[in-house]
Symmetry: C2
Subunit: 225 residues, 2 copies
DNA sequence: TGAATGCTTCGGCTAACATCGAAGTATGAA
DNA sequence: TTCATACTTCGATGTTAGCCGAAGCATTCA
């Protein structure tokens, strides 16, 4: 027995409620301070500090010192994908939180998934790109076609610059609310950044929800009908 | 905060080493008895019984009574996909077991992933099917084309019977050793069953490894060059 | 019916760990 | 320099939960 990689370490890291809450908070994509994360998890600063060092030792999160603050964020895209995946599984099993809360519909419509767009809007965007032959899928990998590159460039995104990064440009990420894939990778991040920079959408405070303005939603739907 | 599904319960279930070992053993796809699982995890029967009831309460496994035995198996395909996914993540992070063990190369070449073929052989099979236009990918879903249906039928698999089941016929599953997708779903299960039934390959005892006979490997490569 | 096998339940022990108060370190501001 | 803020480390506490021995069911076989 004892074959393959050891999953129990990762399970144990995610298995503590306080740590799970911190990770969920970090799925918002913003780097947060230890104090903020302690608040999110409902624990004191000392306890949070202990948890954070464990998560860091497990390479699930990374910290960046900046002045007297220390900002914590998910270590990389892979962690976000994994967490979204587990959330999808948990949602199917009915392992939902006791009360769905009023924000739930908004989360299902559009939310940030670590650094890219998820929810109904995210899924529909990828569907449209694939249907139009702008993105091709290959398992969990994805690729931008020539026509796709033109389309993305027209939105105002510097595709060559994305390609120059070491990260994959396109990836798929399983959406827990839609149970279908949406677009991740540096392109997914760039697109969400564009929508927000252009004022089409705004992030809700203390939430993963993304609220599109009426005008922004109109434009988004025009782009990805 | 406290948004979305609760991942900590699932993390906690997987987070205990004894339970993780049992789940890994069940990834072999065979239903095992409590005694066998206790052996796999290196614990006594009583302790195993306690763990098993927790896993069952969490809907990760299901049991089937048969005479005086109780057979435990993963609850469904979804669980297998999730575990393989976490294994892939763990492998990337270097959360490997202390010693890779001698079986590791065999596992990377061909192994059973709950009920379908994984490893180099599994990945190459799906690659070939996609390249030939027999399977189309759409995120984590996949579909068999007309030409694909003919090809599969020629191998001796009753595709309409697969379609009649409620389960998805094609799914992709992320391979932890190859970091690419292989074919899951009822078709993936049927294909592996065919290979074994035709004597092309045999399951190794007490392992997830699959050993192809020389003749079987020749035929497999001829089918999926 | 009695014996054997397979598994669960109970009870108590132990180790691990999450938690927080208090003290310590580091950075920045006054 | 002094104070304040941000965070970590230490120490003590309490709860949890894994673990196993022993006893209790349930099923099968003789």
């Amino acid at each position: 027995m004892k074959e393959g990689p050891d999953i129990s370490q990762i399970g144990a890291l995610i298995g503590d409620p306080a740590r799970a809450n911190m990770l969920t908070a970090l799925m918002g994509g913003q780097a947060l301070t230890a104090t903020e994360l302690a608040g999110a998890a409902g624990i004191t600063l000392q306890t949070a500090s202990s948890h954070l060092s464990k998560l860091e030792a497990g390479a699930l999160i990374a910290q960046r010192k900046q002045g007297r603050h220390r900002y914590f964020a998910l270590a990389d895209d892979e962690v976000g994908l994994l967490l979204e995946n587990i959330m999808g599984f948990a949602a199917n099993r009915g392992h939902l939180r006791t009360r769905p809360g009023p924000k739930d519909p908004a989360l299902r419509k559009a939310r940030v998934c670590y650094n890219h767009l998820a929810g109904d809007f995210g899924v529909r965007m990828l569907d449209r790109l694939v249907a139009d032959g702008d993105v091709t899928l290959d398992g969990d990998d994805a690729a931008l076609t020539q026509s796709g590159e033109a389309r993305i460039a027209a939105i105002g995104i510097d595709v060559p610059a994305l390609r120059a990064q070491r990260r994959p440009v396109c990836r798929t990420c399983l959406d827990w609310s839609e149970r279908r894939s949406h677009l991740a990778g540096s392109l997914g991040e760039a697109l969400l950044g564009r929508f927000i920079a252009d004022g089409w959408a705004k992030r809700e405070k203390d939430s993963r929800a993304i609220r599109f303005t009426a005008e922004g939603e109109r434009r988004f739907v025009a782009l990805f009908p």
